[in-house]
């Protein structure tokens, strides 16, 4: 009751005077809660969506994906249908192709789907998103037009490559492509839906087809799809939660610093109340009531906004449910609200202990009480770690805790490095009065300045991750391709068709046999290969040789680096290549760099042997060209059934792997920017309040506003410099890790990105500190601050 009296008579009246600080607290709580509450809704929706579609994603109970068509497999499956072991199976093929859209060609996978009518197509959601396609839109594939009948929101019954790079499904009657399918799919439906029966059927098929399967063949069941989905959900959770943790920690810094400042500003009031014999408990509880009314408002606003965030995140992951709101999600959000209220209660209680320990006599004498004891810091860290753990239980996956800990450690490292850099730079001895004063001041608040630096580093890094990283990865991958591949266009044309590359460009032309096989020496399985021969005058563009000799030196064949690695082959090994009843044995004389593009191509010169002499087996021609797309004539492009592949399309296709993550990063980077600005402004506000008296003292001593302006600018420059250096280092490190792990390429850091980082940091630092400058201009000669008493 007494607490309520104090709250109504005193605390309620303080909202107006502390409105800016409470605004920061409320908005920080809103952002943190909004992000955090969206995560479990995203996980639940993704899990439900994938659980409902496991069989559809796999295409059937069991899917076999092979890189060649095996008659033995077909016969065996037919016999299993006849004997009633399996209910039925469907056969599909997957091709490399391109889609023509808005005057450009884009790489896609083409998958057969015989349920479609002749003029109908189905596209994957990633392809539709990338090319802005909608239902009933017209698309052009292999020179023919089709109407989009449906868009698969998840990847249903396609090859693993198609599910990663995006696809179009057409009726197999429409596909007269001058190339062989790269994958053959057998979609098998078991007699029973029971998971144990499907598992044992899978084991039986693996055993039956052991000799037909090579290292590139895959067999998957719905259980495998479930595991894969679970991994994908985990990756999504990892990324979202990393950013969630960053947002939470920065908003927490803002909240704690604001609360601390509110308490500091009210030291005298609290002392007066204590001297008026009001018990500490009542003063503390009234303050907590004030704090919780703000956090409750923030949590409610955050809960409302979290629906929008989860909708966007799900959309970026290919789940386009219009409304993620349901009874379950409402309950989840309610529980989350309670959890966050408890977390903020704990922080509030820890800080409010200052009220109990405040010595009123010391305050009225003018002694500055300690703002933050070390034990409070340890309590805060402990509460934070426990909160992250409890949050991961709420979210339902330990991945959330792991990602939070990773970010916490990275933040801590950056924080420590920032403090060190600030300390080192501020230790430079200066005879210049302003510089000396500034450096001493910076040293005394190195922790606060380090926090500002860290927030700027994260803000600028995430802007670049969201908006520049994809381009950076593309450029790095392209550079890698350009440096190693002699060509940037491939064309596969029927040997009977007339195709003449433009005379002025250099090219290589190969006669190609798609129907050859070899035996993998490690497991004796059959491996399909493409046998390509050429003459010296047609070998204009030469492959880069990794080891061994060039194509027209010595005798033998060249194999790709990827092929050599996959099948454990070395120089001077023998390779037997077969076509129908013909076999020829070759020595491996060289290994060429393929960058995993058509790695099964075996290159041969025109030396006469049973294989090269079998002219009728070479039904296709392969052209390698190095030119821009416009140079390839319209006539060549309109060659029906011919497949033209622009290598740079592969960049786009590969980057579409990251598409969902990049979009998430973009949205989350915007949130990070807002948080960083709020945090920076908050720190600036706190500095302004704290520095007010110091400014008045300095002015009272006769120093000018110019002195203070110079000091402010010097502090700004130091923060800008350190944050720019750290941002560049952080962005480069993460980008290099991504580029190396995803594409096995060194990341190429562009000068423009460096310039952008510096510009962003300078801009934000300038905004933050210009606010302080306004304070200097308006209030630094407020000499009433020099009085000790009210």
């Amino acid at each position: 009751m007494r607490t309520l009296n104090i709250f109504t008579s005193y605390n309620l009246k303080q909202f107006k005077s502390s409105k800016i600080l409470y605004f920061f607290i409320c908005i920080s709580v809103t952002i943190a809660t909004c992000m955090a509450l969206s995560v479990p809704v995203i996980i639940n929706t993704m899990t439900t969506a994938s659980e409902k579609s496991q069989k559809r994603i796999n295409g059937a109970d069991i899917k076999i994906e092979m890189n060649y068509k095996s008659q033995n497999v077909c016969d065996k499956l037919d016999s299993l249908v006849d004997s009633g072991v399996i209910k039925n199976y469907t056969y599909k093929q997957a091709y490399n192709a391109s889609i023509h859209h808005q005057k450009n060609d884009y790489y896609i996978d083409l998958v057969t789907e015989d349920n479609l009518a002749d003029n109908e197509a189905t596209v994957s959601s990633t392809t539709a998103e990338k090319l802005n396609l909608h239902l009933k839109d017209k698309i052009s594939v292999l020179g023919e037009n089709y109407t989009i009948k449906s868009i698969d929101d998840l990847n249903f019954g396609v090859s693993s490559q198609a599910s990663q790079l995006g696809y179009v499904k057409l009726n197999s009657k429409n596909i007269s492509i001058d190339t062989k399918p790269y994958a053959h799919l057998y979609l098998i439906n078991a007699k029973s839906d029971s998971s144990s029966k499907i598992k044992s059927l899978k084991a039986q098929l693996k055993k039956d087809f052991k000799k037909d399967f090579n290292s590139n063949c895959l067999i998957s069941s719905t259980e495998d799809v479930a595991k894969e989905n679970a991994e994908k959900i985990n990756s999504t959770v990892l990324i979202i939660n990393m950013l969630n943790t960053i947002v939470f920690l920065f908003t927490l810094f803002a909240i704690i610093s604001c609360l601390n400042m509110i308490l500091s500003l009210r030291n005298k009031d609290i002392a007066a109340m204590k001297l008026s014999n009001i018990p500490s408990k009542n003063i503390k509880n009234a303050f907590l009531l004030e704090f919780f009314s703000t956090t409750t408002l923030g949590i409610i606003l955050g809960a409302i906004l979290s629906n929008k965030i989860s909708f966007l995140m799900l959309k970026y992951n290919g789940i386009t449910s219009k409304n993620t709101f349901s009874i379950n999600s409402a309950l989840t959000i309610f529980v989350g609200c309670i959890l966050f209220e408890i977390i903020y209660i704990l922080y509030g209680f820890t800080l409010a202990k200052k009220i109990k320990h405040l010595k009123p006599l010391a305050v009225i004498k003018g002694d500055e009480p300690a703002t933050f004891k070390r034990r409070h810091g340890f309590s805060m860290i402990l509460i934070t770690i426990i909160s992250m753990f409890v949050y991961s239980i709420y979210v339902g996956t330990i991945t959330a805790f792991i990602s939070s800990v990773i970010i916490f450690i990275v933040l801590l490292l950056l924080f420590v490095v920032s403090i060190l850099l600030i300390y080192i730079l501020s230790s430079i001895p200066l005879s210049w009065k302003c510089g000396n004063y500034t450096f001493k001041k910076i040293k005394s608040r190195k922790c606060s300045n380090a926090l500002v630096v860290v927030s700027l580093v994260f803000m600028s890094s995430f802007i670049l991750f969201g908006f520049r990283l994809p381009q950076g990865l593309t450029d790095s991958y392209s550079k890698g391709l350009n440096d190693t591949l002699p060509y940037n266009h491939i064309a596969f044309v029927s040997a009977k068709k007339d195709f003449n590359p433009i005379k002025k460009i250099t090219y290589s032309k190969f006669d190609v046999n798609f129907d050859c096989t070899t035996i993998d020496p490690s497991n004796n399985s059959l491996v399909p290969v493409i046998f390509a021969k050429t003459s010296e005058e047609n070998y204009g563009l030469k492959y880069k040789i990794k080891s061994g000799v060039n194509l027209f030196e010595g005798s033998g064949v060249l194999i790709s680096d990827v092929f050599a690695k996959d099948h454990n082959l070395n120089l001077r090994d023998n390779l037997t290549i077969s076509y129908n009843d013909i076999s020829a044995s070759f020595k491996i004389k060289g290994i060429y760099v393929s960058k995993n593009i058509n790695p099964t191509i075996i290159l041969s010169d025109n030396t006469s042997n049973v294989l090269t002499d079998a002219k009728e087996s070479f039904s296709k021609e392969m052209y390698l060209m190095n030119c821009d797309s416009a140079t390839i004539t319209a006539e060549a492009k309109s060659l029906k059934g011919a497949m033209f592949l622009n290598i740079s399309d592969l960049n786009d296709a590969l980057l579409s792997l990251l598409d969902g993550y990049v979009k998430m990063l973009r949205l989350l980077s915007i949130i990070c920017i807002i948080v960083a600005i709020i945090f920076g402004l908050n720190i600036c506000q706190l500095f302004s309040i704290k520095d007010g008296k110091e400014y008045a003292i300095i002015r009272g001593l006769g120093l000018t506003k110019g002195f203070l302006t110079c000091s402010n600018a010097l502090e700004l420059i130091q923060i800008d410099f350190i944050s720019s250096v750290l941002s560049i280092a952080f962005y480069y490190t993460v980008s290099t890790l991504l580029s190396t792990n995803l594409f096995k390429e060194t990341f190429v850091f562009s000068v423009f990105d460096g310039f952008l980082i510096i510009l962003l940091n300078t801009l934000i630092a300038f905004i933050i500190f210009s606010k302080r400058q306004i304070h200097i201009q308006k209030k630094s000669n407020d000499f009433t601050l020099l009085k000790d008493y009210d």
């Binding site: 009751m1 008579s9 005193y10 007066a272 014999n277 009001i278 500490s280 006599l361 009225i364 008493y789």
Partner: protein, 226 residues
């Protein structure tokens, strides 16, 4: 009513320590009017702080502080708060009024409505404010009051819970001579009316001389009625 026995107080800063009070024995009886003076830094405020239970003395087996024969345990915060609430009123040189509240709100702040109902508390506050000539300004913000007026408000606030002893630490230190006299008269009047003891720490010799019991604090030791 309040008894101090063998009280000492040492302040430590870093490696140095300063003994401000040395084995002080002192008693405050009902209706006493005690004035304390001494040179700057002699421990007057410290003595006041310990007596008003805001500071704890050095730990010593012999030392003790009694409130109505009840021995105070300085480690029990709740006990100290309760003793302060029911026995003590404090007035300082700086008024320590809360600037965002009005005069009436400042005066009502320390009142526990479980002990004095709100309506009665408001009436009492208005009565006291009338006595100090500030009834018309009861809704004024503190920043609109003069120094003397603010000090009068802080006196009224200190009296709201009917304290048995009123401690004043240089209550007129920031005021001119005329206002200081007015404030002193007010304090004496209130202490008489409420049968409360009045203890004033002061630099002002005139005020010191007006005390019934005059105390000098020097070298950490108390000299009474020198």
């Amino acid at each position: 009513m309040i008894k101090l026995e063998h009280i000492s107080k040492t302040f430590k800063t870093g490696s140095t320590s300063q003994k401000v009070l040395d084995n002080v024995n002192f008693q405050i009886n009902d209706n006493d009017f005690i004035t304390i003076k001494g040179p700057s830094g002699c421990g007057k405020s410290t003595l006041l702080g310990i007596t008003s239970l805001l500071l704890s003395p050095d730990h010593d087996i012999r030392s003790a502080l009694y409130y109505d024969d009840f021995k105070v345990n300085f480690k029990k915060e709740k006990q100290l708060e309760s003793l302060r609430m029911h026995n003590i009123g404090m007035v300082f040189q700086s008024t320590n009024l809360i600037s965002s509240l009005s005069v009436l709100e400042n005066v009502l702040l320390p009142v526990d409505y479980k002990i004095i109902p709100r309506r009665d508390a408001i009436e009492k506050a208005k009565l006291l404010l009338t006595k100090v000539g500030l009834r018309e300004k009861k809704n004024f913000k503190i920043s609109l009051l003069s120094g003397g007026e603010a000090q009068r408000v802080s006196i009224v606030r200190a009296l709201m819970n009917d304290p048995k002893v009123l401690f004043c630490d240089e209550p007129t230190g920031a005021l001119d001579k005329e206002t200081s006299s007015e404030i002193l008269e007010l304090l004496l009047e209130f202490s008489k009316e409420n049968n409360s003891a009045l203890v004033i720490v002061t630099h002002d010799n005139d005020i010191w001389m007006s005390g019934k019991r005059k105390v000098i604090l020097e070298g950490g030791r108390l000299i009474e009625n020198p």
